[in-house]
Structure formats: structure tokens, C-alpha cells
């Protein structure tokens, strides 16, 4: 098993390598001159050329990639064009804030999604099932930023229950409760679509498991329904649910960009937004890279978790 974990971890290396290449090339495609971006539109051509040289922009692409990669491995994400700071300093604190938001959103969408999907599956065809699945589909059909705006309009402006923006009240930061108060709306806005996806998948998975021979077989022994549902149905629905939830991390990190912008959440998404609107390519590059890396790690964890949950997979791994 340990060997598998190790080899699975190592197997992400080519993917990570590919990710760095994609990210690097993305930035190379940009028309325009990074040196100019740094110095501003009214800089002299000489200054620009000098900076180009110093930045190594006149080197062949492969040399630039090598240099960039080796910096990357040393934890150096480069310099922001517009903020003129090491990007790592800009992004790391924000990354933590984004993780807080992501975790909160995940908690919401996983718990609610699973509960909704489970009840719908057990009451398949009922009004509850149809209604909640309809709502789920509607939830998945709305842009996150729009949900965020509507939540903000309703709960912050009309009802004035939740704050409009930020992570803490600046005037008198109130610790965890204050954070909770601030996180509700952005977390819900971010979670909506994933909630719908998880609910729908949970429903179809549970329905599927309910039709499995072994579930029927246990029924034939007169075991109580609730017990079968808990012990067998839920247990076997777990891997797909975990899988989809893991994938939702990626979606939530994407969606967080929108709610972070709307609710002014000081996260990496907001920094990316600013970077996109100011064409701060190194920051875009670093932000995308950081999120992709996180996503790869999350997927890795989900994979390992699934192996851990599936005796069958474990064995096929041992057999390899």
C-alpha cells in the first residue's frame, strides 16, 4: 500500500510537469511586452530593452522555461507586473483565505448535497424528489457571480442580515464569529452549483446502489431497511460521492473567483481577477499554477481515499 501511495504520488509528476508547461506556454502566447508592462506605457524604449535583457526575455524559449521552472522549484513565483512585489508574498496569505472559503463552501455543498440527494433517491419519484432535483438543476444553471449579487442584494441590502464584503469587520474584528458572519454569503454563492452537482450525483448513485443485487439480497433476509440503507447503500455510495466532491474542489476554487470579487473576499480569486483586469500575467500564471497544484493534490488525496475505501481497488493494486 505504501508503495502504491508513493507511486501514485510520483505519478502526478508528469501531470505537474505538463501543468507547468501549459502554464508557461500560456504566458508566452501573450502579445505585448512584459518589460513594457512593468515600466508602464510611457517608458523609454531603451529602458524597456534593458529590462528585457535583464529579465532574460531575449533568451530562447526553452532557456526561459528552464529558468522559470528552477525558480519555481525554489518557491519563487516571480514578480508581479503591477504590484512589483514577489508574487508569493501577494498570493500566499490570500491562498489561505481562499482555502477558508473553499472549505466552508465544501462543507455546505457536501452536507446539503448529500442529504438532498439521499432523500431524493430514497423517495424517488416523490414531490420532494422532483422539487429538489428541479431546484438543483436551476441552481446549476446560474452564474456564480449572479447568485452572489442576488444573495448580496437580498441579505445584505434588503434584509441587512449579513455584511457586504470582506472577511472581518475592520472596525472591530470579532474573531471566529465575525468570520462566520462574513463567510455565509460568499460560501453559499460559491457552493450552489456544486451543491446541485453533488445532490444529483448522490441521487443517481444511491438509486443505482439501491438496485444492486446485494441490496436486494439483504432485503431478502428481512434486515431492516434503514440499516441496509446506512450500512450498505451509503457505504457503497461513498466512493463516487467522495470522488465528485473532490472534483468540486476545483469547481469551487473556480467559482470562488466570482464570489470573492463580489464580496471582496481577500482570496486568490480576487487577486486573479485584479491580475486579469490589469494584465498582470505573472500573477495570473502563478495563481493558475497554484490552484492547479492544489487541485492535483486534492485529486491525489481523493484517489487515495477511494482506494482506501475500496477493498477491490486495493487488491488490484497489490496484484500489480
Amino acid at each position: 500500500m505504501l508503495r502504491y501511495v508513493l507511486s501514485r504520488i510520483l505519478s502526478t509528476i508528469p501531470v505537474l510537469f505538463g501543468v507547468t508547461i501549459v502554464v508557461f506556454l500560456l504566458i508566452q502566447l501573450i502579445p505585448g511586452d512584459p518589460a513594457k508592462s512593468i515600466l508602464g506605457a510611457d517608458a523609454t524604449p531603451e529602458a524597456v530593452e534593458e529590462l528585457r535583457n535583464n529579465m532574460g526575455l531575449n533568451e530562447p524559449l526553452i532557456v526561459q522555461y528552464g529558468a522559470w521552472l528552477s525558480q519555481l522549484l525554489q518557491g519563487d513565483l516571480g514578480y508581479s507586473y503591477t504590484l512589483h512585489t514577489p508574487i508569493i508574498e501577494e498570493l500566499m496569505p490570500r491562498f489561505v483565505n481562499s482555502l477558508i472559503l473553499t472549505v466552508a463552501s465544501m462543507l455546505i455543498c457536501v452536507t446539503l448535497g448529500v442529504i438532498l440527494g439521499l432523500i431524493s433517491a430514497l423517495k424517488k419519484g416523490s414531490f420532494f424528489d422532483k422539487a429538489s432535483m428541479g431546484v438543483a438543476l436551476i441552481g446549476a444553471s446560474m452564474p456564480v457571480f449572479w447568485i452572489a449579487l442576488m444573495l448580496m442584494w437580498l441579505f445584505s441590502i434588503k434584509l441587512n442580515i449579513f455584511p457586504v464584503s470582506g472577511m472581518y469587520n475592520m472596525r472591530n474584528p470579532g474573531g471566529f464569529m465575525d468570520l462566520l458572519h462574513h463567510i455565509v454569503l460568499p460560501a453559499f454563492a460559491t457552493a450552489t452549483v456544486s451543491l446541485a452537482v453533488i445532490a444529483r450525483l448522490t441521487r443517481s448513485t444511491v438509486i443505482d446502489i439501491l438496485q444492486k443485487d446485494y441490496v436486494n439480497y439483504f432485503h431478502s433476509f428481512g434486515l431492516s431497511k434503514s440499516k441496509i440503507n446506512i450500512v450498505h447503500v451509503m457505504r457503497n455510495s461513498l466512493p463516487p460521492i467522495i470522488n465528485i466532491s473532490g472534483l468540486q474542489v476545483g469547481y469551487i476554487m473556480g467559482g470562488a473567483l466570482f464570489s470573492e470579487v463580489v464580496f471582496n473576499w481577500p482570496g486568490i480569486g480576487q487577486a486573479l481577477y485584479v491580475a486579469v483586469t490589469s494584465n498582470d500575467y505573472p500573477t495570473i500564471q502563478a495563481g493558475i499554477l497554484l490552484i492547479a497544484l492544489t487541485f492535483v493534490v486534492v485529486n491525489l488525496v481523493v484517489d487515495l481515499l477511494n482506494v482506501w475505501l475500496s477493498p477491490r481497488l486495493q487488491d488490484s493494486i497489490k496484484a500489480e
Binding site: D213, Y214, F221, G222, R235, L309, P311
Partner: protein, 342 residues
């Protein structure tokens, strides 16, 4: 329970005039019609039929496992030790499942939960259905596994379903069915997915169980070879009806219904192999295909395929009539033999 019914408790399972209707997208379908069966304690009975003959519906009706969304209606009676299953309510029915009647599933691979060790699954049933403690249940489970002819019960107990071979899995499922000492085991084609050599072992195992525990067995199969091997009584099903039933020897060596006759003759005759002079006889075949239950004509359901059919068969719905009323009951549903109504 009155005295009269108490006297009737002799039969372990009594199915009388059972008809089962289910809902399908195309309309209501009568999957079982007028089924009569009796299984006594300690008896091995087989039901033979091809796909679509209603064998599985039989099991689902007896154990009342048809989901409400699928079931249209039952009619007739099913009694277990004199108690009418349609009258006792779900709670009591739960008691009967597993404890009185248990099932050996057709496909052992898909009938075990892949996420748990097989031992745990056996123990789980015991814990819920009997008053055993965890330790007792475990011990009993290990015993059962051993009795199933498993050499290394401890290892098997700790195994996951996918780690076992087909034969072992089937043994585990059989052990599971015995977990609560049921009076009747319904075995749903328990050997059809197995290799021939394993099939033989498993069939022998059923026989051992029957002898050792006195458990009655209702064996569902499509193979007369299996019937011949273990069953005392046999019922032949065709298109949702029992067309012939009786003692195994009577039915096999004196098949009366044309369908039964054909089925038996379909089995390749190997005489030419052993008797050099015999030569190959052409293989008997039944023309056509089993009918679609959705659009049955009114007469005999076997009419189209029957090699002796007469005009009367097309219009008359045959009834199950006893052809050999003395000693061993042997009955047949054929107008030409027993007559019919209309």
C-alpha cells in the same frame, strides 16, 4: 389460529392459485398465473423453466420482495406454516425472511457487498435476526463456512467477495442463507454461472445441507440435469404457468406435457459415444421461441411450439389436472391430456 388451520401447518410452504401482476411501461403484465405449489418440511423441490417463464417472479412473490412501484397486485394465497403471507403485514413478513425462508442468490458475485468482508456480512444477518452475541455469531459463521466444505474458514471469513473464486463465493452465499437456520432455502439458479466441475460440488453441498439440517430446498433451474441430480419433486414452468409437476422420476421418465417431453429430449443423447453402433440421433428441437407475456393468445401458451398441438389447443385454456391421482401426485396442464375449461 383455529384448530383447523393448525392441522394444516404440516406444509412448510403452500402456494395456492397465485397470480402476480406487475406494472410495466407498456401496461400491466401477468407474470404468474394460477400457480399451485406445496413444499413439505425437509423436501427438495425444483422448478424448471426457461428465461421468462416466471421463476424469479415466483421467488419475489413468495418473499414479497417486489417493490411497490412495480407490483400491481397479488391474488391467491401463499401460506408459510399455515400463515397467510398476504395477511400478516410487513413486520411479520420481515420475521419470516431469512429466519423461515432464505434465499441463495443467483449471482454470488453481485449479491455480496463488495465493501465488506464476507464474514462481517454473515455476522450482520445473525446479529439482526437472532439473539446471538457478536462472538457467538462469529463462531457460528465460521462453523457454517466449515460445513460448506471450506478448508480455511478463518481466511475466507476475513476475505472480501472479489478475493474469492466463483465456487467459494457461492458457498459463502449458501452459508449466509443458513445463517438463521431457515426451514426453507430458495436457491435461484445457484449453479448456472459456475464451471461444470464446481456446479457438481455445489449441488452436492445442497444435498448435504438438506440431509444435515433438514432444510427444505426450492431449487430454481433451467437444467433438467440439475433436477435429476438432487430434486425429489419438480414443477415445470412455461410462460408464467406451471405446466407439469410431480415426483422427479415420474416427470423425467414419464414426461406428459409436450413441453416437458421436448425439454427432456433436447438434452443431447450421448449413446453414440458409448455405444459404437448407436450412431448420432438428430437433436430434438422445439420450434419457435417462448411467447411474449405481453400479447398472449387465449388458448394454450405452448400452442405455437407444440409438436402435438390440435385445433382445440388454440382456443382452450388448459387447467392443471392430476394425471396420476394415486400415491404420487403428477399433474399436467394440457387440454389433450387433462382437459381444460372453455
Amino acid at each position: 389460529m383455529n384448530v383447523q388451520s393448525a392441522l394444516n401447518t404440516e406444509s412448510l410452504l403452500k402456494v395456492e392459485g397465485l397470480s402476480t401482476k406487475i406494472k410495466t411501461p407498456e401496461g400491466v403484465l401477468t407474470v404468474l398465473e394460477d400457480v399451485n405449489l406445496t413444499i413439505e418440511k425437509g423436501e427438495i423441490m425444483a422448478i424448471v423453466g426457461e428465461s421468462g417463464s416466471g421463476k424469479s417472479m415466483m421467488i419475489n412473490s413468495i418473499l414479497q420482495l417486489l417493490p411497490k412501484t412495480l407490483l400491481e397486485a397479488y391474488s391467491g394465497n401463499i401460506e408459510v406454516e399455515g400463515e397467510n403471507l398476504f395477511a400478516i403485514g410487513e413486520k411479520k413478513m420481515q420475521e419470516i425472511r431469512g429466519k423461515k425462508i432464505s434465499l441463495v442468490a443467483q449471482n454470488a458475485m453481485t449479491s455480496l457487498d463488495p465493501s465488506y468482508r464476507v464474514g462481517k456480512q454473515i455476522v450482520e444477518i445473525m446479529l439482526e435476526k437472532t439473539g446471538l452475541t457478536k462472538e457467538q455469531a462469529k463462531e457460528k459463521a465460521l462453523n457454517l463456512l466449515e460445513q460448506m466444505g471450506i478448508d480455511d474458514p478463518k481466511r475466507i471469513f476475513q476475505s472480501y467477495p472479489h478475493q474469492l473464486s466463483g465456487g467459494l463465493r457461492q458457498r459463502v452465499v449458501i452459508a449466509m442463507s443458513l445463517a438463521c437456520d431457515p426451514d426453507l432455502i430458495i436457491a435461484d439458479e445457484p449453479t448456472s454461472a459456475l464451471d461444470p466441475t464446481v456446479q457438481l460440488q455445489v449441488l452436492d453441498l445442497f444435498q448435504t445441507i438438506n440431509q444435515q439440517f433438514g432444510t427444505a430446498i426450492l431449487m430454481i433451474t433451467h437444467d433438467f440435469g440439475v433436477v435429476a441430480r438432487i430434486a425429489e419433486k419438480v414443477a415445470v414452468m412455461y410462460a408464467g404457468q406451471i405446466v407439469e409437476k410431480g415426483e422427479t422420476a415420474d416427470v423425467i421418465f414419464n414426461p406428459t406435457h409436450p413441453y416437458t417431453q421436448s425439454l427432456i429430449k433436447c438434452i443431447p443423447n450421448l449413446d453414440w459415444v458409448f455405444d459404437k453402433g448407436a450412431g448420432k440421433k438428430p437433436l430434438w428441437q422445439i420450434k419457435g421461441e417462448p411467447p411474449n407475456l405481453m400479447n398472449l393468445s387465449q388458448g394454450c401458451r405452448f400452442f405455437n411450439r407444440c409438436h402435438v398441438a390440435k385445433d382445440i389447443c388454440q382456443s382452450t385454456n388448459p387447467l392443471l389436472k392430476t394425471v396420476k391421482p394415486y400415491r404420487n401426485e403428477h399433474s399436467v396442464r394440457c387440454v389433450l391430456i387433462g382437459g381444460g375449461n372453455e
